[in-house]
Subunit: 347 residues, 3 copies
Amino acid sequence: MGISLGELAVRFGCELRGDPAASVDRVATLADADSHSLAFVANPHYRRQLASSRAGAVVLDAASAADCTAAALVCENPHATFARIAAVLHPHPVAQPGVHPTAVLAPGARIDPSAHIGALSVIGEGAVVGARVFVGPQCLIDEGATVSEDVRLTARVTVCRRVEIGARTVVQPGAVIGGDGFGFALERGRWIKVPQTGTVRVGADVEIGANTTIDRGAIEDTVIEDGVKLDNLIMIAHNVRVGAHSALAACVGISGSTTIGRHCMIGGQVGIGGHLTIADKVIITGCTMVSHSIPRPGVYSGGIPLEEAHVWRRLVARFKRIDSLATRLKALERHTSRGPDQEEQDD
Amino acid sequence: MGISLGELAVRFGCELRGDPAASVDRVATLADADSHSLAFVANPHYRRQLASSRAGAVVLDAASAADCTAAALVCENPHATFARIAAVLHPHPVAQPGVHPTAVLAPGARIDPSAHIGALSVIGEGAVVGARVFVGPQCLIDEGATVSEDVRLTARVTVCRRVEIGARTVVQPGAVIGGDGFGFALERGRWIKVPQTGTVRVGADVEIGANTTIDRGAIEDTVIEDGVKLDNLIMIAHNVRVGAHSALAACVGISGSTTIGRHCMIGGQVGIGGHLTIADKVIITGCTMVSHSIPRPGVYSGGIPLEEAHVWRRLVARFKRIDSLATRLKALERHTSRGPDQEEQDD
Amino acid sequence: MGISLGELAVRFGCELRGDPAASVDRVATLADADSHSLAFVANPHYRRQLASSRAGAVVLDAASAADCTAAALVCENPHATFARIAAVLHPHPVAQPGVHPTAVLAPGARIDPSAHIGALSVIGEGAVVGARVFVGPQCLIDEGATVSEDVRLTARVTVCRRVEIGARTVVQPGAVIGGDGFGFALERGRWIKVPQTGTVRVGADVEIGANTTIDRGAIEDTVIEDGVKLDNLIMIAHNVRVGAHSALAACVGISGSTTIGRHCMIGGQVGIGGHLTIADKVIITGCTMVSHSIPRPGVYSGGIPLEEAHVWRRLVARFKRIDSLATRLKALERHTSRGPDQEEQDD
């Protein structure tokens, strides 16, 4: 389905430099694009590829437009504009409303007639599936769960009982929303399971990645606010709250009862302890351990980049003796009649 | 279903301070509780909320009871007692014995008549499902696997062939028990798969979290002993043994052939190398790398808490030059006629 | 099914020291083996168990053969030879060609008549399943996906639309191949989803572990080359390329657009940043953070082994003050008329 550049410029508020009658029908990288492809430049780093690109048109900002020999769709935020145009050029395959004959519906499930329920999906008693919801194959929406309008459960998604999912949220395969929280009481060396009587409330416009798990609350609910984006293989423990429009990269783990602020960005493999509070607009770089609350916005780190193994071994050996280093330095300071710094007097 | 405080006191061995005829029908937090709710105080930190709580009754210990204006169920271990009462107030929905018509049973599967087999579950040839087992929707119990009495596979659990699961064990959705171990022989730069001929034996009263994976043994079996609690997204490699009543938080990875002792507690995202032995009663805090065996009980750590990024970058830069620091210190010691410490003489 | 040692020696190119008419019918560890079992010694560490083993035969190299009292199958690479013999002694159960009556096939799916499609699997429109493919129960091969000959999807594997899987590749349960990449454009504090129009191309002879996720590319494809071995719970982000015959241990996370070379070995829980290039034959030990490209083969590390918690706390406290240590050392150097090292002059 080709779309003319003129139409794109009007619909997406771009300034067009080029022939409005020319059209594109797919997206491509600058390097791979042909005359029917739309590419984009969001990072000035790629600007130098503009000269050699055969793209039919390029979405970019005014600063990059000077280098563009192809037709240019000039806008303020090329990445966002490109995302919107790509969604038009590459729409999801249209799913027919209706229930696949192999899906299993409890008698009391309420399915909007405009929803699509895929092959071998199971909808439990009292579950509610809203308008235009897409439930792919092999999903489970368990008893009493609510899935709001325009949600997309791509395939093999597990929505446990009483979980609520807000409008337009997208869930990738293998995600588990509402498994029991990890709650046990210790009694003479044995663990006694604490029933997890809360549930999970997922807001609108959320994305949940493949094989990510979000546990139900122990008593109150686990909450994922509107617009949150969760990558794959993330663990959200019971009673966590993730603030609106925060984005978490893959393999992040958040322990129980921690609150993440709004508009946070959390890098891959970050581990966050329990019962902490992270302020709004906090950025945490990858592989960081967070063991205390973060009361102020800012960028935080805790990972140490690698070295060749023999160098690293030596660094670690020195680190393990850093106490001796400090002690010897203090002795030397005394010896040379220089007192230790104020900071060191509590040693 | 309301239960009188008098009955709770008798059944759970508490001293009741309050009206035995009053009743509660759900659990709640101190802050949210109403007159029909039961709350608890296990952590003295929450004691100050007692005065303002509207709870119908509170489970707590004698030390906290003095501050309690509501009815008090006084006991030694409030968390454990609360867990037991909550299980009575919030029982699992009763599952009818029997096999859902859409479940697929191999002719030679042996299903106890009191077991529940959910929609679209598959039970393989020779598999055995014990009394009162709950198999939720979309589970797989593959050929020759054994699931003992009162086990609960919540939904979409994969139990691979020949795996054994002990009584009362609970498995959350997405868990995979008995996938092939990661065993390959290297030959001229190519990997040759080593058949994984062992299986997994899971004990009684175990909990296995959502999307956790436990690999089958290479030759002998992978073993999870009685009472072990595994959180979500944990990786247990082939031939690992996890000792009884140990609890592992989310995202822990344990490499092949490692033995974890009994009554251990392992924090989130801990990584444990292969062929190691961890003693009983070892506690490892989150984000720790374990690269050697731990022969003695104790608390072990290895994670460094985060800093603001600009501070952290400076710390890392200094750390990367710690060798130079040590060398310069030694030179200075020589210069001031102080010999290096004994510890440093092997440098 | 017993096989004579004579036949094994001929088929697998070993020198037999023992009775060619004796036979073995299963594999075992040296410690557990009986007279019908085949064991192996690949690691000299286990050589001392040879004297007490009751194995019917042992696969080992010439150096170890001297210590072997049982029949010996002597070869250059005992681990690889053992792997091949084990595959013969413990073949996969034979799966009947054909489609299980509960599987759901789109009208336009093309299934080779020699393929096995298990119970409750779903094959989408236009999907192609090659000769002798084994599709276990509850798998999904979505629209337009291609699964080549002799592939083995053990159970509950999700192959998303248009994904390609090469010959003989094995996928463990719960793996998700082709979920959407984590691509969002930021616009005034909100995230706009960037359609992920690429797919995933998995080569031949690949292994993909349980609950591992491989995201589809944003525009171009994510690529796993021939012979790659991926353990469980690994995250491969969009547009990553993993070079042929590389092996990644469990819980590794690779961020978007990174290229891993050929013949690399990456330890458990390693985190690799985005847009990096890792050379061929790079070995990275477990728990390492990789935040820059690695242009040369070699062994790289970044994890610090644990200590007892009280020792570790002191090390961390010192580390957090390493700046002060360096400053004080420099002051002392000045005081004793020794200038700072060249390296430190930019401080």
